[in-house]
Assembly symmetry: C2
Homo-oligomer: 205 residues x 2
C-alpha cells in the first residue's frame, strides 16, 4: 500500500537532481546571476521541462533554500546524539564548522543579501519560513543553555549570537582567505571559527 510507483520515484529523483543543481549554482553565483538556462543545462533537460516541475525561478531557489535549511536540521539532529560533542556550546561550534565546510565545498547557497529579489519571495514561502523558524528555535535553545553554562558570553543578546552565526555561514572572509591561497580548507575553517568564537582581540591578562 505504501509502495511508491516507479514513475513517482523517477519524478522524485528528477526533482532532486534539479534542486541539487540549483543549490550548486546558487552557491557559486547567487540568485541574480543564476540563469534558468544554466540550471537546465546542468540537469541536462530542456528549460520548458523545468517549468513543469517548478513554476518560476523563485520557486526553484526556494526549494534549494529549503533543502539547505533541512540539511542544517539534519546536522543538528546528528549533533544532538553525537557523544563527541557533550555540551550545547560544543554543538554550536560544531554546527558552525559544518556550515563553513559546506560553504567551502560550494554547497551552501549564500543568504539573499538584504536586497535580493529572492528575499521577498522567500518571505512569502511558507514552507521555508516554517523551517527557518524551526531552525532558529533549536539554535536559540542551544544558545540560551550555553549562556547559562557561561560558555557563551551571557552579555550578548541571544538574537545577536544567532544572527552572528547565520552570518558566518555565508561569511565572505571564507572566500577571501581561500583566494589568498595561504591556507587549506581545514585551516581556514579553524582560523575563522577561532576568530568568531574567541574574537580577534587578545584574551587573558
Amino acid at each position: 500500500m505504501t509502495r511508491v510507483s516507479f514513475k513517482a520515484q523517477m519524478l522524485r529523483a528528477r526533482e532532486d537532481a534539479i534542486v541539487a543543481a540549483v543549490n550548486r549554482l546558487l552557491a557559486e553565483r547567487g540568485f541574480d546571476a543564476m540563469t534558468v538556462d544554466a540550471v537546465a543545462a546542468e540537469v541536462g533537460i530542456a528549460k520548458a521541462s523545468l517549468y513543469k516541475h517548478f513554476e518560476s525561478k523563485e520557486a526553484l531557489a526556494g526549494a534549494a533554500m529549503i533543502g539547505a535549511v533541512d540539511r542544517a536540521l539534519v546536522e543538528i539532529e546528528r549533533l544532538a546524539h553525537d557523544p563527541e560533542h557533550g555540551t550545547d556550546f560544543e554543538r554550536l561550534k560544531a554546527l558552525t564548522r559544518w556550515a563553513m565546510r559546506e560553504q567551502l565545498a560550494g554547497e551552501m547557497p549564500s543568504l539573499p543579501s538584504q536586497t535580493s529579489a529572492l528575499r521577498a519571495a522567500l518571505s512569502a514561502n511558507k514552507a521555508f519560513v516554517e523551517r527557518l523558524m524551526q531552525l532558529s528555535d533549536l539554535l536559540g535553545a542551544w544558545i540560551g543553555a550555553a549562556q547559562r553554562a557561561r560558555q557563551l558570553d551571557a552579555k550578548l543578546p541571544s538574537e545577536v549570537v544567532l544572527y552572528t552565526l547565520y552570518a558566518r555561514a555565508c561569511d565572505p572572509a571564507v572566500a577571501l582567505l581561500k583566494s589568498g591561497g595561504n591556507y587549506d580548507d581545514e585551516q581556514i575553517v579553524e582560523l575563522l571559527l577561532q576568530a568568531c568564537f574567541g574574537g580577534i582581540a587578545a584574551r587573558g591578562a
Copy 2:
C-alpha cells in the same frame, strides 16, 4: 594659473552626483539589481548622458567602489591624528565602528560577493586595485602593531584579521539585527563590535 574653469567645476560636480547616486544604489540593491535607468533617474539626467561620463555600468560601479575605499582612507588619516584613539588597536576598532555606521546609513556599497559580475571588472580596474592595496597595507601595519602590543590575538595570522574586518564592513548580521527591530543603530554597532573583537564565547575564568 591653477584656476579651474567654471565648466570643469560643473563637470566635476555632476560626476560627483552620479557617483553618489551609484554608491547609494549599490549599497541598497547591490550591483546586479542596480539598473542604469535607476541611476539616471536618481541623478535626474538622461541615461545617454550617463554614458558620456562613464563608459559602462562596471565603470560606474568602479568609481563608486573607489570612492568608498577613499572614504576609508580619509577616515584612517583622521583616526591617525585623533588623540581620542591612542593605540592602533583602538584605531582599528574605531574604523570598524565607522564602517558599520556607514553600512547602517546606506552608504557602504556591499563588497561584490565572490561571484558577482563586478568582481572581474574590479580586478581589472587599476585605480581600484591600487587604492585597495594601499588600504590593506595601512591596516596591515596597524594589525601587526596591535598584535605586538598584545591587544589583538597574536595567534591569528594578520591576513585572517584583515579579511575578518573587511567582512564586518558588509556583515549581513547588521541588516538582520536592524530588521529584527529590537535595537537602534548605535546598539547594533556596539553589540556587533563586541561580538567581533571579543568573540561570542565567554571570557574570563
